[in-house]
């Protein structure tokens, strides 16, 4: 079947849903599919309301800001998704982000920016590798292992520098704040990462294996697949994206605070869950996670526009998670 045929088939299927003669099975599938589109639908509806009610929302600077702001959580959520799919969790993404950011910021002053960025990301990859090793080879529960490294990595950040590091070399920063037409270039980087991970998860062997491990690790082991290596890989990926997020955030803000990223692991987990990922592993999509990221970003942007206190944002976020999980359960 060619790709074009596949798309046509899917469109036809979707159109058929509104026709008659749908069996109960199709009915259940239809409901599941509708639920899968809820986050993105909610995003569009909210955006439409915002466009009508607020003059500032559609302003070039606000939309650009919105996109720039979601990049951090977007990249972290992407890494988090891979770990969650494998049946794990990564609580240490915040400190890994800070670690990469502060190391990278320091090096930006001494080295050409590509080298500094690479080293910053490499540090986060190594940190992710430590998480993976603890989970896969020392058989620690992911929650406990990454809780421990969350504390240890944060400590490491402060050991490296108690005070904020300011990169004086601005070549990387210029790249970060640049735009391609009206779209911030970092948003394009994020989009590329989402496409890449989507391809990785759906169309490569390690990707399918990670899904399967989250679904039933024992079955995967007995099928002759190296479960541990794949778990390790998932945490390395998470570290890598946290690191990349850290470097982009540092450059956007123009300063690397050792405290940066505190609490961000919760936003990343929230985006995955809102996007339909199961914390039990094995279920979740890149598309859904992107929708979760967009929705969370939009809500905080809107509440800022309307001058709502930050505390209410947190309440909102909590309610959203509950709502997402509830609607999904009914659609199942």
């Amino acid at each position: 079947m060619s790709e074009a045929n596949g798309i046509l088939g899917r469109v036809r299927q979707r159109l058929q849903l509104f026709g008659e003669g749908a069996t109960a099975e199709a009915e259940a599938d239809r409901r599941a599919r509708l639920v899968a589109y809820l986050p993105i639908t909610a995003f569009l509806v909210l955006a439409a309301i915002a466009a009508v009610t607020s003059d500032a929302f559609l302003g070039q600077s606000n939309l650009g800001n919105l996109l720039r702001q979601i990049v951090t959580n977007g990249l972290m959520s992407l890494g988090m998704l891979v770990v969650i799919l494998s049946g794990g969790i990564d609580l240490s993404v915040g400190p890994m982000l800070a670690l990469a950011g502060i190391v990278g910021a320091g090096l930006l002053n001494a080295l050409p920016w590509p080298v500094a960025v690479l080293i910053g990301v490499a540090v986060a990859l190594i940190a992710g590798g430590m998480n993976g090793a603890l989970v896969a080879y020392f058989r620690m529960p992911p929650f406990v292992a990454t809780l421990a490294t969350m504390s240890a990595f944060r400590g490491l950040v402060y050991v490296y520098s108690e005070t904020p590091v300011v990169p004086t070399n601005t070549s990387f920063r210029q790249l970060i704040v640049s735009s391609v037409g009206p779209v911030p270039s970092v948003a394009l980087v994020m989009l590329a990462c989402f496409l890449l991970v989507s391809f990785f998860l759906n169309r490569t062997t390690p990707g399918r294996n990670i899904y399967a491990i989250g679904g039933n690790a024992e079955a995967v082991r007995l099928a002759g697949i190296d479960v541990r290596a794949h778990q390790l890989l998932a945490y390395v990926i998470s570290g890598g994206f946290a690191g990349l997020a850290g470097l982009i955030l540092t450059s956007r803000l123009g300063i690397a605070q050792p405290s940066v990223g505190a609490g961000m692991e919760l936003d990343a987990i929230a985006a995955c869950v809102i996007g339909g990922a199961s914390l039990a592993g094995g279920a979740g999509t890149v598309r859904g996670t992107l929708a979760g990221v967009l929705l969370l970003g939009l809500i905080s942007n809107l509440l800022n526009l309307y001058n709502v206190q930050a505390y209410y944002q947190q309440i909102f976020k909590g309610a959203l998670i509950v709502l997402a999980v509830l609607t999904r359960r009914r659609g199942d």
Partner: protein
């Protein structure tokens, strides 16, 4: 039945989405009666039980207990009405002791309930189990550390000690040894004597005939008939369940030409599991391994499959030394195992039929790191067609398939991988009679194609119907070897239980 029946169901109906799980079922069970529910998987037995347990609500129909209508909207209500169900899945808390599980909610206490009187608690729990005639385990041990058969007995003991008006046992024997089963039957009989009603659900017809007074047969959600046990034989019961005679279940197999063995096992042993196991398996041969639960049958298969490492002995595969350190190595050598627990060891329920079939063969479908959908579909289609896996599409989630089709999909996983030796551990557990026959045909066809097959099964007819040669294990050792012609149910059972001194 004199007077008012203990339980009376009338026109009970339940619909799940498109399928009518129960179609206006009537059922009458008297006090002091053991009533068996028989039927294939999907016949509606589980749904009926769940309705009585309050776990599922009926859509229509009435239920009366001792003449009084009851509603049973939730499990609590069912329990309050005196209905107690022992499911196949356990409801015990594995991390706590046998005592705590037995006395949950009514632990003996001192100092106004703040202080648990442990010695009294342990004594009381042990006495309670003993009072049923069951073997008493160390009640201080964690339930999770006990073998499955003991856990099942504790589960049943807990339910029986509540003195329910109606006790429902769902496939209680699946994990029980013969001795435990005898104890269970004795306990059931004494419970019946005291006027309790027992509803007994089992796939194993011999058990049904041993213990039940009457049998209700369900098929496709409807009641076929209710008969007194004395009025029917097994053959007729099977016909009622599936609408075809028993003899057609096992395929006829041609005589094999003698050949050099493909798998040779010499003196294989693993600490605390089995010792000194030797066998020679020829290509095209089906070798049955019989024995009671816990006799080490499955452990031998696990060792050959690379899942566990043996301590002693050696194996050769097609003349070459074979020493798998992992399932991956065994698969590479061409040895695959179908585990006894599909859900635990085989299926990835949230993934598609396609991905489940491909799981061991992704490497074959990958070119330059990318999974090629076309190659995958071709390979999957080939197996789905050859094995007749009935699925709405290969993209459907595997959890939506019936047990038999799930099992066929798992067989397909190993065939796609290219197995030369197939290890089957209870391949038809939880599979209905129709799908069973299909799986037997597939296995016979694979053997004809030159594959060597080791078949572990608790069902003697399956062993006798399929095997060319049969090993019997007891206590981790091979205690009997039979050819197909020599073997009878009595001889296999005798060897398994250590009753007759069959030559090893």
């Amino acid at each position: 039945m004199s007077a008012v029946p203990r339980l009376e169901l009338h026109g009970v109906r339940k619909r799940y989405d498109a399928t009518l799980a129960l179609r206006d079922v009537d059922l009458t069970v008297g006090a002091g009666e053991v009533h068996a529910l028989a039927g294939e998987n999907g016949a509606g037995k589980s749904t009926l039980i769940k309705i009585l347990a309050g776990a599922v609500r009926r859509d229509a129909g009435t239920i009366a207990l001792d003449g009084a209508p009851v509603d049973l909207p939730n499990p609590l209500a069912a329990r309050a009405a005196g209905i107690r169900v022992v499911y196949q899945e356990f409801s015990l808390v594995p991390s706590t002791s046998v005592t705590e599980n037995m006395l949950l909610g009514r632990m003996p206490a001192r100092a106004a309930g703040w202080w648990i009187d442990w010695s009294a608690a342990h004594r009381r729990a042990a006495e309670a189990i003993a009072s049923l005639g069951f073997e008493v385990p160390d009640v201080r041990r964690r339930v999770g550390a006990l073998p499955v058969s003991q856990r099942q007995m504790i589960e049943i003991a807990k339910a029986m000690l509540e003195r329910p008006r109606i006790l429902i046992l769902d496939e209680p024997s699946a994990v029980l040894s013969t001795r435990d089963l005898e104890r269970l039957f004795a306990a059931i009989r004494s419970l019946r004597q005291s006027g309790a009603t027992i509803i007994y659900v089992s796939h194993r017809l011999d058990e049904v005939f041993t213990i039940a007074d009457r049998i209700t047969v369900l098929k496709d959600g409807a009641r076929v008939d209710t008969v007194a046990t004395g009025d029917v034989d097994q053959g007729r019961l099977v016909r009622m369940m599936v609408g075809r005679p028993l003899g057609e279940i096992y395929p006829s197999r041609p005589e094999r030409a003698p050949a050099d063995p493909i798998l040779v096992v010499r003196g294989l042993g693993r600490h605390k599991a089995f010792s000194d196991v030797s066998l020679e398996l020829a290509p095209g041969e089906i070798m049955g391994i019989s024995g009671l639960v816990g006799s080490g049958r499955s452990e031998v298969l696990r060792a050959i499959s690379g899942a566990d490492r043996p301590d002693t002995g050696e194996m050769t595969l097609a003349g070459r030394l074979y020493r798998p350190r992992s399932p991956a190595e065994a698969l590479r050598a061409g040895v695959a195992m179908l585990s006894e627990d599909r859900a635990r060891d085989g299926l990835v329920p949230a993934m598609s039929v396609r991905d489940n079939l491909s799981l061991a063969s992704f490497a074959r479908m990958t070119r330059m790191l990318v999974l090629r959908r076309r190659i995958q579909l071709a390979l999957v289609d080939e197996q789905v067609r050859a094995l007749n896996v009935r699925t709405p599409s290969v993209a459907a989630l595997v959890k939506r398939l019936s047990g038999g089709n799930q099992q066929k999909a798992l067989v397909g996983r190993w065939l796609m991988r290219g197995a030369r030796v197939l290890l089957l551990d209870e391949p038809t557990r939880g599979v209905d009679v129709g799908a069973k026959a299909e799986i037997y045909r597939i296995v016979a066809r694979l053997a004809e194609g030159g594959m060597g097959i080791l078949l572990v099964s608790s069902e003697l007819p399956e062993i006798l119907g399929m095997s060319d040669r049969i090993l019997v294990m007891r206590g981790g050792r091979v205690v009997g070897r039979f050819t197909r012609r020599e073997a009878t149910e009595e001889r296999l059972l005798g060897a398994a239980a250590g009753v007759t001194p069959e030559a090893a």
